[in-house]
Amino acid sequence: MADANNGRIEIEGVTKRFLTPGGEVFTAIKDVSFTVEPGQFCAVVGPTGCGKSTTLGMVSGLDRPSEGTVKVGGKVVDGITDGVSFMFQADALLPWKTVLANVALGPIFKGASKAEAQARARDWLRRVGLTGFEDRYPHQLSGGMRKRVAMAAALINEPKILMMDEPFGALDVQTKAIMSNELLGLWEQSRPAVLFITHDLDEAVALADKVVVMTSSPGTVKAVYDIDLPRPRGSVQEIRFEPRFLELQHQIWDTLREEVERAYARTAGGPVTEGKAA
């Protein structure tokens, strides 16, 4: 089993094909290669349907590549990768468990006693600002609170690699900014390698050390940008006004726009609008 102890992710020439219900072969991603160093925050941007979630699925070991290899900590991924946490694009909390029980699942699955797991879960809920909501069920929380619970549940096992698939995609702008700041704060404490998918280029540049731009379907890596903004970054709302941020943002957007427009034209078949998406 791959072990994330040295949390280096190496994706080498990975192609993933699916069999469509019609019996045709559909290539979701093609010859994708990039590396995430231990402790690095890597954002992946690309038009919808380009295979971002698919890529993450293969790093976590939930799915296998059709061609190429994914290595974590130098070992080829086969089965669920150890030391990895995943925040899914869709809500993945267990609706029949309370907030506390949801967060405690990680330690329980790793063999901790119930009391110990709950104590740690309480501590993590405090860190994400949800003290007092331990006994609620997920449906009794707001969307933002559910994301906090998911974040606590993902971080409680102290992963070496944290994968996040558009974690704040469904949130309003203010909540998103607050959550991004909180994420950065928590990340600075334990420094896992992060693979962060987003549609929001500003978010990607504000948070990441490295931004991978993918082409429209079938997705390949179009370009990789190093974000040399200093850390700690401070508030994501403020960094947006720094000249270096704007420069990087424009540069990446020029690369990304073409792909977004191509993907949009393909799915919507409608006119292509100029301008910035996020």
Partner: protein, 298 residues
């Protein structure tokens, strides 16, 4: 009637007009709810009076022959007679208990095996493919034939009734459990896997709770089937039980006796139903409330 479909809407208060204070609004909402309740109960009782009264009247006037169709007053006195004087096969209470016992045991055996097999087959594609056709074949056999086989094989004791009830319950619960397991949310499953859950932990924390909505919905129907299984078994051959009481009443051209026993059975099923509803509320307390209380109250 409760359904298996989860609902996310929440109850709203009708009749909150602009300008009303919250306490006024609450008061008028309470009054509206009370009025609604009263009119529903009024209509219910009215309907019962019309049907039972009509039945009584038609049989009294000789338009319908009470010898074949019974008569409400006769049913009532027959019921009292049954409770006071018992039957040819021991007291009425004893007979009721025999049927309850058979139904409960059959229910337990059928429900437990249905859940276990449903979860197993839902989890394992291989097992489902191998056993699927056989389960369909057994399911296609008319139950009354099975009942006859059980009576031949196990005599006229409790065993064939329990088995027949269990078989009836099993298929209802099995198909629901199987479907429930198949419907488990893929994201939640993937999440548990990544968090490091073993196969057993996934079944315990994810698969079974998720399928529980389906399983409990099936238990409502299943208890009715358990009673049917016990009764049919008794009709096919028994020394005691409500099925035998009905069969004897039928042979004696005593429609009132049949109806009186039927009434007792209906009460049994309703009590069981309300117990299952209570269990449902406890086990599924995590679910968001139904769109309106009215949808829950029937």
């Amino acid at each position: 009637m409760s359904t298996a479909s989860p609902s996310t809407a929440t109850a709203s208060v009708d009749g909150v007009a602009a300008g009303q204070t919250p306490s006024d609004a609450a008061k008028s909402a309470r009054r509206a709810a009370l009025n609604r309740k009263l009119s529903v109960w009024g209509a219910r009782i009215g309907l019962a009076v019309v049907i039972i009264g009509g039945w009584q009247a038609f049989t009294t006037w000789g338009i319908v022959d009470p010898f074949f169709f019974g008569q409400p007053s006769g049913i009532w006195s027959r019921l009292i007679d049954l409770f006071q004087n018992g039957t040819e096969f021991g007291s009425f209470y004893e007979n009721i208990w025999v049927t309850i016992e058979e139904a409960l045991l059959g229910f337990a055996v059928g429900a437990v095996s249905g859940v276990i097999l449903g979860v197993l087959l839902g989890q394992s594609r291989f097992l489902a493919d191998v056993l699927g056709p056989y389960i369909k074949i057994v399911n296609a056999i008319p139950r009354i034939v099975l009942g006859a086989i059980f009576v031949v094989a196990f005599g006229i004791g409790a065993t064939p009734k329990i088995l027949l009830a269990a078989v009836l319950v099993f298929f209802v619960v099995f198909f629901n459990a199987f479907q429930g397991v198949r419907e488990v949310d893929r994201n939640i499953l993937a999440n548990a896997k990544v968090l490091g859950a073993s196969q057993l932990q996934i079944v315990r924390h994810v698969v079974v709770p998720s399928a529980l909505t389906w399983i409990i919905a099936s238990l409502h129907t299943a208890f009715g089937f358990a009673i049917v299984g016990a009764l049919v078994g008794e009709v096919l051959g028994a020394q005691q039980g409500l099925g035998l009481v009905i069969k004897t009443a039928q042979n004696n051209f005593d429609p009132n006796g049949v109806f009186a026993t039927m009434l007792v059975i209906a009460v049994l099923v309703l009590v069981a139903e309300s117990l299952i509803s209570r269990l449902e509320r406890r086990l599924l307390s995590w679910r968001p409330p139904a769109p309106s209380e009215a949808a829950n109250s029937i």
